[in-house]
Structures are given as C-alpha cells and as structure tokens.
C-alpha cells in the first residue's frame, strides 16, 4: 500500500515543470558559486592541499553535498504543518495507515523524483565538467547516504509535529537549519573547523546527514573509522525514529482534546 503512495507522489511532481527547472538552476548556481570560490582559494593561496584535501576532492565534496541538499532542504515540515493546522491530518489518521509512514512514503516519492530530475543533472555536470570523482567505497557511501536520509526525515517529522504545540514552526525550522548548516559539514567540511568545534559537532545528529557520507565518499575516513561512523548513524536512526514515534503518540492525544 505504501509503495503506491510513493509512486503517486513521484508522478505528481511531473505536473510542476517550472518548479523542476527552477530547482535545477538553483542547484547549479549554488554549486557554481562554490566551485569558483574554492578554485580561487586554492589558486590564490598557492597550495596543493588544505588539511590534506586537494582541490578535486573538495570539488567532489561540494558536488555531493549539493545532491544531499536536495532532500535536506526540502519544505516538508510545512506540509505537516499545513495538515495539522488545516485539518488534513484528520483525514490522514482515519485511513488504516500510520501517519508517520504515510509522510515517509510521500517524502520518498518526492525525493526519488528530485534525484531523477535534479540529482542526476548535478552529478553529470559534476563528473563531466567540474571533475568530481567517484566514491572510494561506494557500498559504504550508499548505506551511509540512506541512513542520512532517514535521520533528516525524522528531524523533519519532529519539527512538523511541533505544530501541535506551537502556532508557527518557522523559527524552529530556521534554527535547526542554521545549526545544521554550520555543524553538519554541509557548506563547509567539518575537518577544516578548529578541533573544539568538531568535537561539539560530532555530538549532534546533523553531521550524520552530511559529514559521514561525504567523508566516506572522498575517503577522508577509511577502514575501521567507517564502521564507527556508520554506527553513530545507526544510533541516530533509531533514537530519532523512536522519539518521532513517541511524539506522534502524544500529538494524537492532542487531536482528541481539540476534537479534530
């Protein structure tokens, strides 16, 4: 049943052609600006590596980071917010499906579509024109990438469900994005930050979305370290998933209190 939701949501996106084109162009602009910046930094500083990272590795890093950004900077929190505020959630929970899994299926459908429409063009440009390279351990990268998707998803759900207790989720979502942008390694590789900052960032779930898959991809971490990093991701996967389900349980009670 859920796979039908995934497929429907996937198909739905074909209607919004301008959104797709806009999305592709936006991703390219972001990537292009960073490409020029890093080229300028390496060229004008006259160095071959920065903290052991060469320019091609850095280009690879920002390219793949742009791909991860496709799902991590979605507006799915607002979809949940809308359903809570405008009553759509009542329709959703009367169906014989779990709302969280419904949202997950929807998210998967949208994400598959975006990867196809936006991710593949980005990757082609990155590999052919910008000179990005293939992952050093592809299987570990894919596992880590998928775990990252789920960790991000549970955070999205938690922020969306916050609508049950607050009038607006705008501030919370922005705060999360700010902390995430800085501590996840999304814009800037974590290993370039001072040591004390890295230690704080490693305690947060956001680095499991960007830093772990990206570090595996470019070979910044290898061997045993890969396993410990994946383990951290698994930890966040289960704990955030559990919290999301618990919060959903409490949220359901609030629906009854308000009478729908």
């Amino acid at each position: 049943m859920y796979h039908k939701i995934v497929f429907t949501k996937f198909k739905e996106n074909f209607v919004y052609r301008t959104d797709v084109i806009g999305g592709i162009i936006n991703s390219f602009i972001e990537l292009a600006a960073l490409w020029f910046v890093w080229n300028a930094i390496y060229a004008s500083s006259g160095v071959v590596t920065i903290k052991g990272i060469t320019l091609p590795a850095m280009i690879t890093y920002i390219s793949i980071s742009t791909v991860i950004r496709i799902y991590s900077h979605s507006y799915s929190e607002y979809m949940i917010h809308d359903e809570v505020k405008h009553g759509g959630i009542v329709v959703a929970i009367t169906k014989p499906i779990n709302y969280i899994f419904f949202v997950l299926s929807r998210e998967l459908g949208i994400t598959f579509f975006r990867f196809m429409a936006r991710g593949i063009p980005i990757l082609l440009v990155a590999f052919i024109i910008l000179g990005a390279s293939l992952p050093l351990s592809p299987i570990f990268f894919i596992i880590s990438f998928i775990l990252g998707f789920f960790i991000n998803f549970f955070l999205v759900v938690l922020i969306g469900l916050w609508s049950f207790w607050a009038g607006s989720i705008w501030g919370l979502r922005l705060s999360k994005n700010v902390i995430s942008d800085i501590s996840s390694g999304a814009i800037f590789p974590l290993f370039l930050f001072p040591q004390w900052f890295q230690q704080i960032a490693y305690l947060l779930p956001f680095q499991a979305i960007y830093n772990v898959p990206l570090s595996i991809y470019i070979g910044q971490i290898s061997g045993f370290e890969i396993y410990t990093s994946l383990l951290i991701q698994v930890f966040w996967f289960f704990s955030l998933g559990l919290i999301a389900l618990i919060v959903w349980k409490f949220a359901q009670r609030r629906i009854f209190v308000q009478g729908g």
Binding site: T18, I25, I29, F36, I41, G46, G171
Partner: protein
C-alpha cells in the same frame, strides 16, 4: 507624499501592536535571522583560519563586501518585501489582489506598507555588525565623507535589489506559479557574496550589465577598499538604482493591466 507617510506610520503602529501580541514568535524570528546571518562570518572565518587568501582579499575586506549585501537585503526584507514573489503569488492565487485593486491606494504601495516584516530586524542587526567589523578590520576610516558615500551606495543598492525582485514578482500577474522561477534571482545573490573577479567573464558580464547585482556591493566596496575590477564603475550605482526603479515601476503598472483574476 504626505498621505503616504501618514499611512506608513499608521501601519507601523499596527504592526508594533501585533508584535506585542506575539512576543515569543517575534523574539524567535529576530534571533533566528540574526544567527542565520552571522553564519557567513563563521564561514569566512573558517576559510581564513585555513587559507592564506581568497584572491588577495582579506577576512575584513570579505566581511565588508558581504556586510554591504546583508545591510541591503536586511533593509529590503524588513521594509520592502511586500512585493516579493512568494507574497504576490499567494495574493494572486487566493484572490486577495482583487480586493486590493479596489482600495483607493496604489497597489504596490499597499503591499509594501502592509507587509513590514519584523524578522528582518535580526538580519539588519547582524548586517550592520558584519559591515562595521569588516570596515574596521580593513582600516576604513569613519569620516564624514566615507559615511556619506557608504549611505549613498547602500541606498542605491536597496533600489537595485528592490527593483530586480519586483520585476521578477510581476511574473505573478502573468502566470500563477512564479515561486521557483523567481527564486533563481534569489540564488544569484550567492554570487555577489564573494568578489566578482573570481568568476568567469560571462558571469561577471551577467552580474554587471544584465542582472546588475554587482552594483549592490561589489563595485561600491572597491571604492573603500581600493581594489578590484573597474574601480570607476562604482559611481554608476546610483544611476542604475534610479533607472532600475523606474523600469520596475513601469513594468509593475504594465503587468497589472494584464492581470486577469484567477476567479477564486
């Protein structure tokens, strides 16, 4: 004009009243925007911790450059974002525009005045902090001449920023889905956070002559820092600002005439 300011102050009073009502949202919004904008400082700080230079620009100079952009966009966000694509798209789709058209006041003026956005204050505070820190680190002297010049450039930057966005917003009058197309302009702003000279000539040309975002901060900042491409270009900024404003206003009126209601 007198009526305009009278109305504007009445709207400001109303908005202050609504802030008092939603105090927590107000504080969260401002704080989040402040922190979000301070991000770029951290970003540049980390770059310069590791790197010797970004095309010969120092930490302070880059802060000055991006600070100027933030002041402009912060001011726009707070006071002029009423004509932003996403607002306009919603007004058209929900049919709010139809009721506004019946009001005895210019449509553009109405949108600007009724949409003063308090979250922009957080952005503005961060922006001035970045700009002033950048200026001090780059050794810019705060004399009368410099302050006057900087104010003039910021005003022309605001005009350019506002005009470009308004022109793109006008697309909402022609087609109902403009959100993602107009977000492209938004993303082009990313380019002018860094010195233009690091880009390919085609992009420099684009950001100078076609989408003159370079005149918001890059060319003006060269006057203070004494470096970069085409130093004399900066003085074109006020002219471009005024011309862009006239074009955007005319285009707004023209598009509004072509507007046919969605009927909802």
């Amino acid at each position: 004009m007198k009526d305009f300011f009278k109305l504007w102050f009445m709207y400001m009073k109303l908005i202050f009243k609504s802030w008092k009502e939603y105090r927590i949202d107000f504080v969260i919004g401002i704080t989040a925007m402040f922190v979000a904008n301070m991000m770029s400082v951290v970003f540049f700080w980390v770059i310069f911790e590791n790197v010797i230079s970004l095309n010969g620009w120092s930490f302070g100079q880059i802060l000055f450059l991006s600070g100027m952009l933030s002041v402009v966009s912060g001011f726009w966000h707070t006071f002029l974002s009423g004509s932003s694509p996403w607002r306009l798209e919603e007004y058209v789709r929900r049919g709010i525009l139809d009721t506004v058209l019946l009001k005895p006041i210019g449509t553009l003026r109405y949108f600007l005045m009724s949409n003063i956005d308090e979250d922009g204050f957080g952005e503005l505070i961060a922006a001035f902090f970045i700009l002033i820190t950048g200026a001090n680190l780059s050794g810019i002297i705060w004399n009368f001449h410099n302050i006057l010049l900087l104010t003039a450039f910021i005003i022309s930057g605001i005009l350019i920023f506002f005009s470009i966005i308004t022109i793109f917003s006008c697309l909402a009058f022609w087609t109902t889905r403009v959100h993602s197309i107009s977000r492209i302009v938004w993303h082009f702003m990313v380019f002018v956070k860094y010195p233009l000279e690091i880009y390919n000539p085609a992009i420099i040309f684009l950001l100078t002559f076609i989408l003159p975002l370079g005149f918001i901060n890059y060319y003006p900042s060269e006057i203070f820092l004494g470096k970069g491409l085409h130093l004399q270009f900066a003085y074109l900024a006020p002219i471009i600002g005024v011309v862009a404003l006239i074009i955007s206003y005319l285009f707004w009126k023209f598009s509004l005439k072509h507007y046919t209601s969605t009927g909802s």
